[in-house]
Symmetry: C2
Subunit: 380 residues, 2 copies
């Protein structure tokens, strides 16, 4: 199945795939939402940057005279990736997990849910895992290179040189992310906390990936992060669903596991896998989990898209396993878990889904790690 | 002293004032840097948004057909402010502290320092304070309204309608933030970890405040956050140095204390205070701390600017105290603390400076709070 020539699929692919071209509560309140939350003890926490280069720019501002000092030129840092992390006490036996967000979102994806419940970041920490949450390069606290935008303001570049900036509006988010069949109606068994859809809308931030060079620095930085952590499981979602694999194609050294959630399992803006033999040889050595939620065929505007994404990932899993790799497709309804949206890390049953992932990590990533530790690993 | 007509000061004011116009170390590494760091136990943590409105846009993307579905129109959320928080165990006796960053930066300002040491956010939590760290509206995880940028790409707005986007380059940061007298030389007693200046450069992200309406939604959201927290001390830095006061002018209800670090103590792009009697009446009821670091006169390119900012804030403190308010000027060299830069929350002695602030909070903010609790407060 290949619907890449269909207009909706083609356009959406820009948002969902790895293509570079595209791309509440206060202190008292969350006590009310999480009355049983036990204290959390951290061994350490913090934030840092991975990657980044220094470049010279002639437009640190949109004014010819610059911000200060009469010049608009200076060196700036670009393509760095911001990463926040928490390491729980007694985590030494667990492989760190890196959780990367999708299109038009930030690391907020994995924090407190729109209706004030615990996100996956803290849940994984409470389960003993070091957790690393980046903002994609060109988004959030990673920043972006504003040179081109200022040059258009200054008249030294044409307006058509501006990047195509994406924002997911409320109606599109509702339908594309499968909160219900058509905005603003939810599915009867919908797991997304639709009463907090307004709070979800506030998480949406403009996607400037159209500014990025090739390969996407986020891929390179993910690979470098895994090396720096001396091994990590990389998780991607939606636009970044295949970023763990893209990182592995650049440098698989540190990547112990890959979790691809609700994206296209492809290196192109097509839902169909297009893997080279060399790429497949890399993939078969890293345990991989692919996850999809419910209602893939139940939103008229996007069912062709989601069916294609799902079919493409099924094909991908099959390819990896046919080559004697370890790939698992977790289609939640097939596991008896119903009603999940595209934002399944924020759904009302998000911790149940998280625990399915943790089980897979334990069996596929850490089991092989134990083998490695004990010297029984013979796949090198 | 008023240098607002000087070109450098005028332009810089856009970055430093409230005007609307205007270690990178992995898991193992930061253990090396902070070998003695004790485990941290949190009562709770998370993130949420304050404020925000729903608006209709005709440019969710820079393509006429939109992101999906053949339309470029949808409702989007704008002007919301992202806030991350941590509440330590046993914090019930302490007033929460809100730490807001300055121009071209994000909440990262208060996290791990560029050379991998503990930032003020965690330090205050370890001292028992609930800490709330926002990203300014139009920056970082708060996002921005990209409509205007997409409209310029689409040709429905002129390029001159683009916001003036600011990025602080490496040379300007070095001199403006007083890492040394001239890039790349440091002061002999410099407290900023200049060997990690490259890592600091990665914290810089484009400042899109030029897109914001008046009043700046960050001011409104800060005031609302303080109410929601049932009382908070608001801290601002540089561009946001006077944001606590701007928030108080909108609604002082929740604001228990104000800390203004290295900015202009003014409602305009001038270093001179221009307070109305009504504004002064608000200010005298809230304890206020103003902080400046060292070398204000020692960077040739910017000494006029910093001297003006300092003199303006001295005038401000005097005005408040003359009106029987409680304002304190903490000029660090006068307190025997030397070599501090503009980024004093990241300086090598950052925890020493933090403890001076905590002493002030205890004496001026929480002392009055205790009075309030015991019913002795008679200033209503």
């Amino acid at each position: 199945m290949n619907i890449a020539h269909g207009s909706t699929a083609t356009v959406l692919a820009l948002a969902l795939t790895t293509a570079n071209t595209a791309a509440a509560q206060g202190r008292k309140h969350e006590h009310e939402h999480e009355p049983d939350k036990a204290p959390l003890t951290l061994q350490t926490q913090g934030s840092f940057f991975v990657g980044g280069e220094t470049v010279h720019t002639a437009a640190v501002s949109g004014m010819p005279s610059g911000l200060v000092g009469g010049t608009n030129e200076d060196d700036i840092s670009v393509n760095q990736m911001y990463v926040q992390f928490q390491v729980p006490e007694g985590s030494d036996d667990h492989v760190p997990v890196v959780m990367l967000h999708g299109c038009c979102l930030s690391g907020k994806t994995y924090e407190t849910t729109p209706d004030g419940r615990m996100g996956w970041g803290e849940h994984f920490v409470r389960k003993g895992y070091p957790v690393y949450i980046p903002d994609q390069v060109s988004r959030g606290r990673s920043g972006f290179d504003a040179t081109m935008l200022n040059e258009v303001r200054l008249g030294t570049q044409a307006a058509t040189a501006l990047p195509n900036i994406f924002t997911v509006g409320h109606k599109v988010a509702w339908e594309l992310f499968r909160f219900g069949p058509a905005f603003p109606a939810p599915f009867a068994d919908e797991q997304f906390p639709v009463q907090a859809a307004d709070e979800f809308g506030k998480q949406v931030i403009p996607d400037l990936n159209g500014l990025l060079p090739t390969p996407n620095p986020t891929w390179t930085n993910l690979a470098a992060l895994a090396v720096r952590l001396k091994g990590a499981t990389l998780m991607g979602h939606s636009e970044s669903g295949f970023f763990p694999e893209q990182a592995a194609f650049i440098d698989p050294t540190g990547i112990r596991g890959m979790i691809s959630i609700e994206g296209f399992c492809s290196t192109t803006a097509s839902p169909e896998p297009a893997l080279t033999p060399q790429q497949l040889a890399t993939l078969v050595r890293i345990p991989t989990l692919v996850i999809f939620g419910d209602h893939l065929s139940d939103v008229p505007a996007f069912s062709t898209l989601w069916q294609a994404a799902f079919a493409g990932c099924q094909h991908f899993v099959q390819q990896v396993n046919d080559a004697r790799g370890d790939a698992t497709m977790l289609h939640l309804p097939d596991a008896g878990v119903f009603g999940n949206s595209h934002m399944l890390m924020q759904d009302k049953n998000n911790l149940r889904v998280a625990d399915l992932i943790l089980s897979w990590v334990g069996e596929h990533v850490e089991h092989s790690r134990t083998k490695h530790k004990h010297g029984h690993r013979n796949d090198n």
